[in-house]
């Protein structure tokens, strides 16, 4: 397995190189450039040419790409046009961190509620409760975030006045007891985004778990296990749960990779300074270096999560052997 992991990691830089080259090419060959966008109303061609030269945008494309690459290898992702005086790293990592905090908590809730709910629905298969749960889940799954947020805002912020309308002030507020013990309490700003993130999400997970659990329950070995007289709890924990978790692990892996990408709609509607909204702006303004850095980081995280998913497979399912000779 170690060999397999090393081989996969060997491919990582090559994949990143390809991704960076592609996103470089797409951005540069797209119409418009960040200098014109940043200049606003005063776009004297002679002045813009001077600004481009100063920012190294007049060099040949291979030269620009090489300059970007050598910088990126050293961890220097360049400087943003959207926010002058800040390096790309200073801009995107804090925003990714905001998105990741929210995304991670949302994931924990989504899977923490989704998995047991799915198992319960599977268990209740055949009774009237199962179709009820499924249809309620379908209902939640079908609400787009765009539609969901305004009524949530109206209810919790304007009507009940329990929560602020939007914004971000960190995940937790810390309350000190006697100046010694710190108790983290979720900040009031996090409830609405979490609600928006999770309502559709946990329904999706629950449906997936229900489906795979039902599949597994019909397998012969489950019948055998029950026939052996194993207690129902053991059948559930030993046999049904691990075997129905394989697809869930895949979903978790990719979802974990996705949390750093942020969520444009939730972030925009609730005013959260996350990476989703920022990247949208960056693409709109042709902020080359920001686009490049984000794409490459996302690609890297995705590859690593994918690898972790495969490794987890081999633990959950002994039949999966990584790198076994084909």
């Amino acid at each position: 397995m170690t060999g397999y992991i090393i081989r996969r990691l060997f491919w990582l830089p090559i994949i990143l190189l390809a991704v960076s080259f592609l996103s470089f090419a797409i951005a540069r060959f797209g119409p418009g450039d960040p200098v014109a966008v940043a200049a606003g109303q005063f776009r004297d061609p002679e002045v813009l040419a001077r600004v481009r030269a100063e920012r190294g945008l007049d060099a040949s494309l291979p030269e620009q790409y090489w300059r970007w690459l050598t910088g990126a290898v050293r961890g220097d992702f360049g400087e943003s046009f959207l926010q002058r005086g800040f390096t790309v790293s200073e801009l995107i990592f804090p925003k990714m961190w905001v998105s990741a905090q929210l995304g991670f908590v949302a994931l924990v809730i989504v899977f923490g509620l989704g998995i047991p709910l799915g198992l319960i629905a599977a268990k209740l298969n055949g009774t009237w409760l199962d179709p009820l749960i499924v249809s309620v889940l379908l209902f939640f799954r079908a609400i787009p975030v765009l539609v969901l947020i305004p009524p949530l805002l109206w209810l919790f912020a304007l009507k009940l006045r329990w929560l602020p309308v939007g914004g971000w002030d960190g995940l937790f507020d810390v309350y000190w007891i006697g100046g010694v013990i710190a108790i983290p309490i979720p900040d009031p700003h996090v409830y609405l985004p979490l609600l928006a993130f999770t309502i559709g999400g946990f329904a999706g997970v629950a449906r997936l778990v229900r489906f795979t659990a039902l599949e597994v329950t019909r397998e012969d070995y489950i019948r055998t296990a029950r026939a052996k007289g194993l207690p129902e709890g053991t059948v559930m924990m030993r046999h049904i749960l691990p075997n129905s978790l394989l697809p869930v692990v895949t979903v978790i892996g990719f979802a974990l990779a996705g949390i750093i990408e942020g969520a444009f709609f939730v972030e925009t509607l609730l005013g959260i300074p996350g990476i989703g909204r920022f990247l949208f702006e960056a693409v709109r303004s042709r902020d080359y270096d920001t686009i490049m850095a984000a794409t490459v980081i996302f690609a890297g995280v995705f590859v690593i999560m994918n690898l972790l998913v495969e490794i987890t497979y081999s633990f959950i399912d002994p039949r999966v052997r990584l790198g076994a000779s084909r």
Partner: protein, 555 residues
């Protein structure tokens, strides 16, 4: 069911552990990173209490004003070209002259200035009591260094030539030919002299823009990349905190030379959803009103109505024709298009009268503005006649209108225009939407046949729109309009020193442009806002000027 319960219990246990782990992690971060970890990756910038040895005279500033906003593109006055950045910059920094709430150009860091008889030399005398926030006195050398930095090739500011280009030697400095700006000399510690390439009556107006502001040489040289995070300015407010994407806090500069601010602190909230919803929830003191809420604000019975006000803006929306490209190379076609649309009706129906139908090119309150409507009014009969008189008759080549947009739907007023051109003129206009960057690239390359545009005035002088957008020599003339009679008027106005005479020249120029229909002026946008009753003295000027020190917040 006991099995299920156990599974549930275990899973909930796992969940609890995870939640605690996240909580613990955050708590650790909070403890290690001070107050910053809540926002994550330390973009928080807190400047220490630089300078300011307490209040001198008068009562201390008090109160906190909470405004919705976003991150400025930059706080470097010499690089900023957008209104949002300027809004912060004019409060933190200042220049020789400024614009007061009555929109008059008045001395700021300068005490007085003299203009030579030929109108080419400006001599500024600095005040004796001017200091950076750090306490260091501001001298004429600081200004010279600041101007030369603003125009330096290394800074490559896209605004340097536009704002400082009238000073002899600015272009040479910008393009790396000269090391200094020749037309800028320090006479003594408190005296500064500019020599211009021609008498330019709008030169003073340009000096009110951030490009001409003074910055602290020591600070910039010590930290050229990051100094704007704790800028040492000369304005009525100091930057106390800037957390990217979260908040900006300004605090009163009690030693401000034009009078200490009454308002102690201004909190700009950079995150957060709908501003009006937050305003109604008591989280903000000022909020803009959108078209969705305008009826509520106008309803005399609503709570919002008492807090609602409308303000003009020095800007204009228009439709521009490329006057060198068929069919708009024929003035009759342009006139026909202008007369076939009913802007008043469309302003009423699609914008709920939140914009004023344009009466010309110069917006209200701008020097030179006249009340009478100079534009072509809606007249389908004359429009059809004009089209028939054109060299194209009614057989026009394909017409494409380009606008910025990303949706599947065109701007609602654009749809109305297209509909009217179809019904009144029988002309089918295709709408093409592009994103902003593409739009700019196409516009600069002269690839657009007809487009939806907007212009925001940068300084209160008609030159800033009429000359820049329509003089045949101007690089910003993106409609390729060229009219020697107009050029003569504009040339004359550039150097005319009699104010009244000069404004009349611009009014003639405006009429000429409208008659030739190089643009169809559409609307003058208006600002619709609500202001909490605890805020006193709030005003929304038609352009960016320092204003926070005139505002008060009462309990």
């Amino acid at each position: 069911m006991s099995g299920t319960n156990r599974v549930l219990a275990i899973l909930l246990g796992v969940l609890a552990v995870l939640v605690l782990a996240v909580g613990g992690l955050s708590a650790v971060l909070l403890l290690s990173g001070g107050e910053d970890a809540g926002g994550g990756g330390s973009s928080g910038i807190t400047t220490g209490g630089a300078g300011g040895s307490g209040t001198k005279g008068g009562r201390a500033a008090q109160g906190q004003l909470r405004l919705p906003s976003s991150d400025p593109v930059t706080l470097d006055p010499h690089l900023a070209g957008d209104a949002l950045s300027a809004e912060y910059i004019v409060e933190i920094f200042s220049g020789l002259v400024t614009i007061n709430p009555k929109l008059e150009i008045v001395p700021d860091l300068a005490e007085s200035f003299d203009v030579s008889p030929d109108g080419k030399q400006y001599t500024f005398k600095l005040r004796g009591d001017i200091f950076f926030h750090s306490g260091r006195p501001v001298t004429a050398q600081d200004f010279k260094w600041s101007f030369e930095r603003a125009a330096s090739p290394e800074l490559a500011s896209p605004l340097a030539i536009s704002y400082l280009g009238d000073i002899i030697g600015t272009r040479e400095r910008f393009f790396g030919i000269a090391k200094n700006i020749k037309g800028l000399e320090v006479v003594d510690d408190k005296t500064l002299r500019f020599t211009l390439d021609a008498p330019k009556p709008y030169f003073l107006a340009k000096l009110t823009y951030p490009t001409a502001f003074v910055v602290d040489r020591q600070q910039v040289e010590a930290n050229p990349r990051n100094w704007t995070r704790q800028p040492n300015g000369t304005g009525p407010y100091r930057l106390r905190e800037w957390r990217l994407g979260e908040r900006i806090v300004l605090t009163a500069n009690d030693r401000y030379h034009l009078g200490a601010p009454k308002l102690k602190e201004v909190l700009y909230l950079l995150a957060g959803g709908s501003a009006l919803t937050r305003f109604e929830n008591g989280e903000l003191d000022v909020a803009p009103i959108s078209v969705n809420d305008i009826d509520r604000a106008r309803d005399p019975n609503s709570a919002l109505n008492k807090l609602y006000s409308t303000w003009t803006d020095f800007s204009i929306f228009y439709i521009a024709f490329n006057t060198k490209v068929p069919p708009f190379d024929d003035v009759n076609v342009r006139r026909a298009f202008a007369m076939a649309i009913d802007r008043k009706k469309i302003a009423q129906v699609t914008f709920n009268n939140m914009v004023l139908p344009a009466t010309g090119i110069l917006p209200p309150e701008l020097p030179g503005f006249t009340k009478n409507d100079k534009t072509y009014s809606f007249d389908p009969g004359r429009a059809r006649t004009a089209l028939k008189q054109s060299k194209y008759g009614d057989r026009l080549p394909p017409v494409v209108l380009t606008e910025v947009g990303g949706g599947a739907q065109a701007g609602i007023d654009t749809q109305a225009f297209v509909e009217q051109w179809k019904t009144e003129l029988g002309v089918t206009v295709e709408i093409r939407q592009t994103d902003f960057a593409t739009f700019l690239a196409d516009q600069d390359a002269g690839r657009l046949q007809m487009f939806n545009g907007g212009w925001i005035m940068d300084y209160p002088d008609p030159e800033d729109i009429l000359d820049l957008k329509f003089h045949s020599d101007s690089r910003l003339n993106d409609v390729k309009y060229s009219n020697s009679a107009l050029d003569r008027l504009l040339d004359q106005a550039r150097t005319e020193r009699d104010v009244e005479k000069r404004l009349r020249l611009y009014q003639q120029a405006e009429e000429l442009i409208i008659k030739d229909a190089a643009w169809i002026p559409l609307y003058f946008p208006q600002r619709h806002i609500v202001v909490a009753s605890r805020v006193k003295g709030w005003f929304d000027p038609p352009m960016v000027i320092p204003r926070l020190r005139f505002v008060e917040v009462v309990r």
